[in-house]
Point group: C2
Chain length 286, copies 2
């Protein structure tokens, strides 16, 4: 199986590593607009060969793993050139903009809109890691618009990676991820900003970071080149999510200032349910 990967960062690089477990005979062809990333990916063995855009039509799969603003240029460009039997997949964190853009593309049926819920706060080819995809949830949008045979092929690949596939329309996808993924990143970035501004003496931050700050701020280490365009493409949903979050923060502040112990502890107790919700998840995965 010939696999072309456009964008050799965390997502593309990890796909290159993971796909060889279920499909050991895969040959990986890579492409990146950064010469440096391309050379690194070759050097550390993420990809077997480099490839040009004009050669992507020889691939069985083309995985496009670039920031979501670049996706809007690259996916149409790839679809323009691919042959009938090439499956084109993206792994972007927003789905409405890309699906709407491709609506009338002549090769729309070669494309599958996917969003694997996997990642770390690191980026670049050296951040690629084995097992990033294994067992994770994968959201597929507008499955009916992908060619039947190519769609089946895509599902075989995701099953090979032991991913849990769920289906959504692009609008719902963007609403859900605004809350469950993008808002987490916003809350973490702004926590980092607030603490850095207050603690001009950086030693204080790491001396005092033991009790919880470190994990809560982890996502603030994420790559701005990835996240700026995600926030912008999902701006309406995300603004609504931030507003609800802010309104909850203001409510809590008032309860604290009014020393309303009863309501304060009721809210914390209700939110504690997240423990059981996420425990179910862990049980499910085992």
């Amino acid at each position: 199986m010939k696999i072309g990967i456009v964008g050799l960062g965390l997502m593309g690089g990890s796909f290159a590593l993971d796909i060889k477990t279920p499909f050991p005979n895969s040959i990986i062809y890579g492409l990146d607009n950064s010469e440096d990333n391309l050379n690194k990916a070759l050097k550390i063995g993420l990809i077997d060969h480099q490839i040009k855009y004009s050669e992507l039509n020889k691939m069985d799969i083309v995985l496009v793993s670039v920031p979501v603003n670049h996706l809007l240029k690259i996916i149409p460009k790839v679809l323009d050139t691919v042959g009938k039997n090439t499956l084109v997949i993206d792994v972007g964190s927003t789905k409405e903009a890309i699906c709407s853009l491709l609506k009338n593309h002549k090769n729309r049926s070669n494309y599958l809109a996917a969003h694997p819920m996997a990642g770390t706060e690191f980026s670049g080819p050296s951040a690629a890691q084995k097992n990033l995809y294994i067992g994770k949830t994968n959201i597929i949008c507008e499955f009916e618009k992908t060619d039947n045979e190519l769609g089946k092929f895509a599902l075989e690949i995701f099953q090979g990676l032991k991913m849990k596939t769920i289906y959504m329309d692009p609008k719902s996808h963007d609403v859900h991820v605004a809350y469950v993924s993008h808002l987490s990143h916003i809350s973490s970035f702004m926590l980092g900003k607030t603490v850095i501004e207050k603690e001009k003496n950086e030693d204080n931050i790491f001396d005092l970071a033991g009790s919880g700050f470190e994990s809560t701020v982890r996502l603030a280490k994420s790559n701005p080149k990835t996240w700026t365009p995600i926030f912008l493409q999902n701006k309406t949903n995300l603004a609504a999510a931030i507003e609800e979050y802010v309104s909850n923060l203001n409510l809590l502040k008032e309860l604290i200032l009014n020393e309303n112990e009863v309501e304060l502890s009721e809210i914390l107790n209700n939110t504690n349910r997240i423990k059981e919700i996420l425990n179910n998840k862990i049980k499910d995965e085992k």
Copy 2:
């Protein structure tokens, strides 16, 4: 060495486990207002014997590890009865209220105000874990008000646990932890609340939790009995911290809605510095 522990939850129980590494001959006496906790602590071997308040004067150290609202009743009660050579330490996350309360206590010099920056989101005796204290930062307040000999003894204990001791006045302590610890908990609890409210279908939460939500919301699993009184005792500093956090969230929302890519990515880039700040910490620890 005889050690009495009042409050056999995560902090007290883990201290009981950790102290036996540098001081293997310690005998641990425990006390808890929950019969259930006391029996569990005996059963799993956290403590060697149970003890009554009236017997705490026979101890070399009394560690008080109860929620910060209970601290205000229990520490004076313990100090009322202890002998000249008993060191009383607390591990509460706020320091101004307790230090101010004890200002004129006749046995103030038996007390050391400590705050080990260590913890997990779990609670109760079964949450106790070895190495919770080892290598962590420990904040000591008003060290000069503790008897010289007892102060030296306390430092020996913290050195035995390989803790990094730093000194602060109670007011500064409460300001710093409002930002670096308490705000992290608030941001996490309110993220959990916002997502639970939006995602009435809980399956969505755990299906979609893969990309960052799980770690950002981890602290929302924390015990409300511990955190409600902490938030209330640190209300003024915490309200200011929440206000700055909310103002940063509102700023980001505006930049997103106005598609101000330049400023948005500048803010994310600046906040990325948290990576280096926390990396230094990790290097330091190694």
